[in-house]
Subunit: 155 residues, 2 copies
Amino acid sequence: MTDHRLRYFDDYQPGTTYDCGSVRVSQDEMISFAKQFDPQPFHVDPAAAALGPFGGLIASGWHTGGLVMRQIVAHFLPAEASLGSPGLDEIRWPEPVRPGDTLRVRATVAEARRSQSKPDRGLVKTVIEAVNQDDTTVMRATAINFLRVRPESDA
Amino acid sequence: MTDHRLRYFDDYQPGTTYDCGSVRVSQDEMISFAKQFDPQPFHVDPAAAALGPFGGLIASGWHTGGLVMRQIVAHFLPAEASLGSPGLDEIRWPEPVRPGDTLRVRATVAEARRSQSKPDRGLVKTVIEAVNQDDTTVMRATAINFLRVRPESDA
């Protein structure tokens, strides 16, 4: 795990990009996730998928999102400061994720704004991208997170 | 499963809301999902969560999204016509999902537009909402889907 020294809201600098490591996704995992949450033929049935719109099995976008989130939690969202997320402004899956793909995740701080109503926290907007082994972007999203500001005692 | 007689792009009428059934989420499922994809303390550790920002364990938003997607696939996205999704325009989780909550899912067609470049399909934008047993909205998203138009032979 890369330690980017992100501890509190104060550490997030707009314009900075953080490498969040990479994750490989197997066909078995893709099918197992999709059977539970997104059982469309091109996510769960290799034979049907081969004849379908993507010419083969592809990951559910929700699975890709979960895999990306795991990297974000490990490298970008410190447990002691994270106060949850009200949502994402946009998610795009411009190209499919296929069995065996390795996704590299990076997070770029787009905006960091101290809360007026709750001065113990700030809001951080982050552009999250996942690119595969061929440098093709397979997911892009703008996430919103609330983060605790650095306690006075820790200044 | 409710059959809304949605078969092809042509059947999606802007302004119409479709009931997509309901799903109950247990604490064990919440923890198991979050351990894999979103291991923040308030998603995986009941004791830490009790002292955390939400006063108890809450579901990962990605888990809520997956559970909602399952209902959408079962009630709103016919396997024979679905051609995948380029993404979502917005996701919001206005209130937390807690262990034992039952979420009712509904989908309202916001826009349906035939593709100019690929006349075999159309684009449908849908506002998806999940409300809990207290009628509190816990998720809202605008999804984009490509759907095949009705074949001539089936007209």
